[in-house]
Amino acid sequence: MRSYIIRRLLLLIPVLLGIILLIFALLQLFDPYQRAALYVRDPKQMRDVEGIIEKYHLNDPVYVQFYYWISEVLHGNLGWSKSINMRVSDALFYFLPATLELFIFAVPLTILIGMRLGRISAVHRDKPVDHVTRGLAIAGYSLPTFWLGLMLLMVFYGFFSGLFPPERLGVAADAYVNSAAFTRYTRINTLDAILNGELWILIDALRHLVLPVITLTVVNIAFVMRIMRSSMLEALGKGYVVTAKAKGLDEKTVINKHAGRNALIPVITVAGYLVAGLMAGAVITETVFNYKGLGWWSVNAAIQLDIPAVLGFVLFIGTVVVITNLVVDLLYAYVDPRIRLG
């Protein structure tokens, strides 16, 4: 196991380096005046753009630029985000908890419902139940995320106005959360509300989460379901399942204990893709519901040509996805010895 971990960690280096190179290549598509904002820690510095271009060698050959840029990045300076007036590195941590909060609810829901549906579909293969669940899954997969969000808005804001409001918190709750009476331990509102023992903040935060979480879940379920179905079908065809049936075990035990458990292993591998899918979904969902998280920030930044913010966000997402994939691979190897020994 240890040698496997080391091998995987070593493989991480070229990919991370590649991501950095890709971001740098993207950066080269802009002219030096636009790029200057990436080197700034304070908007006042932007008054002297020529000075910044001079100082960080923005008109010099690419490899010289790369040296100055990478040393800024390694010192944690990703530039100034003009769209929200914050350093990019600070903004990432400012918005991350909101997006994490969405994921905390959307990930378990997506996985649980997706696996359940996939299993039902596989057990009743080619029966009407299978056709219906697969049809629904494909339909969910085909829904434009932003359209689903808007339709939910139309119905819930129109008929139950105030039940599931947009943004992260109501006006009163927002004021209270930012007051001295409330300690923001994690900036994840629901968690903070529990830690502070404020029930009404918790309820308020949950009400704001319902619609975005539904949107994110619906468009990502199909993905989990599809993997679970094929993995379950494979498990059902295995020798030990046939043996279990032959020795007279009832259908339920065979499906739950023999096939079901072994079908879980491949599902772990999709977790990495699921994080990527949810992240893409979050970009749109947060924009539609005006839910101020990483996705909302990145879209706003892209529209306002806030280049440091866009590139900082892309760098962050790439790193997160790569590290998630690493963790998933390690987990997979831990669960299934055939992988690490093979």
Binding site: L29, P144, W147, A280
Partner: protein
Amino acid sequence: MSLMTDPISQIAFALALFALGLSILKLLSTSRLTVLFGARWTKFKASMKPRMRELKFSLRRVKDSPLSIVGICIIAFFVAIALLAPVLARPEDPDDPYRIPRDGFSPTPRPPNENHRFGTTEGQFDIYYGVIWGTRTAFRVSIIVVGAALLIGLVVGSIAGYYGGIVDEIFMRITDIFLAFPYIILAMAFVTAFGASLDSVMKALIIVWWPSYARLIRAEVLSVREEDYVEAAKAVGGSDFRVITRHVLPNSIYPVLVMASLDMGAVVLVAAAMSFLGLGAPVGYADWGQMIGFSRNWIVGPPGNPLAYWYTVVIPGLFIFFFVLGWNLLGDAFRDILDPKLRRR
């Protein structure tokens, strides 16, 4: 475009094409070709026989799968709309048919009426016109992006898979980097760099999409490369190019086609999302995503009539949804039909 704008000559043209197609089919079905081309045709026919048998079997499986029939019908419907767009919604300016006609500049959307079948959006853009010509935009974007990504992936993937070694290693590490990002997020960054427009969206999507094809094709080529018939082709002195194009690729292309079908829908989803966010087509260009973008301020109607502006969001959304659904159903059915593991006899 300016040549045939009146509906009658367009329909006549379509009928003529149809008749031509029928007569070609008729010609092929008779044995007249045997007379014309002699032994060569007989040989060709014999070589096609097992392929025809496979095709017939595949078609029977298509018939048995209700989902694939639905998918084919949906796509046929959209192809018809795209082909007949000039008839269904006559452009005001035949040279610039993608510009949606405006009826005034009032911000409030207007419900369907006799002048505007599906109503108008904010800024009085005609929804009917927008969704009809938007179908052409959708096809254009998806065909160009999937086609280009497939082509790049085909070249890179087959070279990497066939030659292996250091070339393979380098190409695959490059694809690793691209695949670390969700399509829409990386594409968003590229569009920011290129400047918001439909062309930028297409360019960005090609850049982020080709690696997944390269990966898939490489994997397929790797498994086919070791087959006996490839060895045989090499042994009789076939050049690398010939071996790849005549023997390796034809035997590894099916999973790629399945993916292409699924991606036709996926590309439109991402492109529409970009336009919705305001990073795609310019204002007034016939594009589904942008039409939904127009509806954002009009989701909830005035008090007492919350669904007053439903048509601004529901109609363009249904077009996107069914377009993507059609391709997904088709791709999913193809996967089941072509997958040799699931292909039971």
